[in-house]
Amino acid sequence: MEYLINTVLLALLAVTAGAIAYLRNLFAAVMLVGIYGLLTAAIFVILDAVDVAFTEAAVGAGISPILMLAALALTGREQTAPTSPSGAGIAIVLATGGALVWGTLDMPYFGDPLAPVHVHVAPRYLEGTLSEIGIPNAVTSVLASYRGYDTLGEVFVIFTAGIGAIVLLGNRRGD
């Protein structure tokens, strides 16, 4: 059942992505970006990533389309120059995609409990989260404690990006 929902949602996601790539009307494309974010959040729930699903639902379906719409309001909503997809561009995309699909053939099957990713570092975190940190949510303990240094860097990146946007556009009326 889980796998069936996963399969259907991923197919919907692929259709949405194709529509986003195809559409000329930027307004419609941004609306589809919101749907795309919501579908991604649903897939994250199916794949046991509840913490990530929270974030993606708020960011992908909420904040990110709003910022894009606001940018469109300042720049114009139609793609004026209809650039015909060049043969070279399509060829590069197909070649890259083919190479990547070929690469996935060596990957362990989806959900395989013996895949290298599941036997190496993660069991250590899952064992330690209650005995060393004392909190049951392993995602929080890895994020805040085991990899706290990493997260500090990420927060600095977010802060810097915010400052950059404020410097470029100004966040007060009439700047």
């Binding site: 509840v50 913490d51 929270f54 974030t55 708020a58 960011v59 909420g62 904040i63 709003i66 910022l67 606001a70 940018a71 309001a73 300042l74 060393e132 940190i133 004392g134 909190i135 049951p136 949510n137 995602v139 929080t140 303990s141 994020l143 805040a144 404690s145 706290g148 240094y149 997260t151 500090l152 927060v155 600095f156 977010i158 802060f159 990006a161 915010g162 400052i163 946007a165 404020i166 470029l168 556009l169 100004g170 966040n171 007060r172 009326r173 009439g174 700047d175």
Partner: protein, 135 residues
Amino acid sequence: MRHHHVLHVVAKMTIPLILVFALYVQFHGDFGPGGGFQAGVIFAAGLILYGLVFGADRLRRAVPAGLAGTLAAAGVLLYAGVGVAGMLLGGAFLDYGVLLPDPMAGQHLGILLIEFGVGVTVAAVMVSLFYCFTA
């Protein structure tokens, strides 16, 4: 969107719920799904919804742009400050175990503080970005 009564009534009902839910996600992140990043974006989404429905100017009166900028910096400072506090108490940078006599309680306190810092920074930066595009 000044004249959409349904939108106004529904937004007035849901925005407080969104903000309270964000606080729950923030402070319950140790035990259930949640944490600073999630809470920050949910809180900011609630505020941005308010700005969309009632106008960015009213949101600016509630959360001034200068306050948002200050809070963004304050969150990062809180995070780094907890790290430095660990160093001053004789541990390594971002070692929360030394914050309190009981290492487990210290871990709890440290995680709570830095998650709060993350949440404040994320929410403030998102609201600032909204202000940038509606300036």
